[in-house]
Amino acid sequence: MDARHTFDFLTNPERFMAFSRWAAPWLGALSALAGIAGLVMTFLVPEDYQQGDTVRMMFIHIPAASLAIFIYVCLGAASFLALVFRQALADLAAQACAPIGAAYTALALITGSLWGKPMWGAWWVWDARLTSVLVLLLFYLGYMALRGALEDEQKAARAAAILALVGLINLPIVKFSVEWWNTLHQGSSTFMAKDGDGLPAIYAWPAALMGLAYLGGFGALWLVRIRGLVWRRKARSLAMKLAEGAR
């Protein structure tokens, strides 16, 4: 295969539709299987000696929080490709991942709050980690609001892409907030934890499986939503052709 065409399925709408038609169900199935296995393990592992049963919250909170950041990286990369290289499919990819990212971020905040109350004694604190994740949610919502607010779709896409790129500045703040500032939120305890702070092996499996489920779920939903936007663009173009023909 010509190397120039290796990534055609990501730039050519027709090839993307053919690729996503089989990739989305496979990713969805992978996500469902990992989710079922992860949930089974979530309720099989023993409770933590300090956190009790609330430790099970970790298996839905950490994947949501990690994916909230990862999806924003995807949003930023797609926005960059759309803005600089005028890739129409990249613009649709950016548009498609914003609502999923917003949902994952909201889930991270809600599950974190439900974990924080019994552990910290507060639903919310203006801690650097929590605040920067709230700012991340506002960037997602701002992106979606901006796309919906401007009537000219091209102008809306351009303005929203610029906002998405500005929002990338927030990502290192989210990631390193627990190291840069003295926060109530704990530091990393998963795969990037410092020596001695890592998860016990018994908790690592459900954490990894739920992480895979959330990642696969994002992949499948992202592809399905991009497909929806490709169909919408086609419908609008056909409607214009029909209107021109009727004149």
Binding site: T54, R225, L238, L242
Partner: protein, 55 residues
Amino acid sequence: MSFDFDAGKYAVYLWPAFAISAAAFAWMIADSLLTTRRWKREAERLQAELDEAGE
């Protein structure tokens, strides 16, 4: 090893977190599939209309 569904005094925090997460995924899946299906049908309907007009 057996299943432990008894979260004791933490049940009031644990179960809403799982319920909200499940509801969010159900909404995301339904919204993504239904919206995509709607636009696909609309595009197919318009294409058929255009083909008919061209004949």
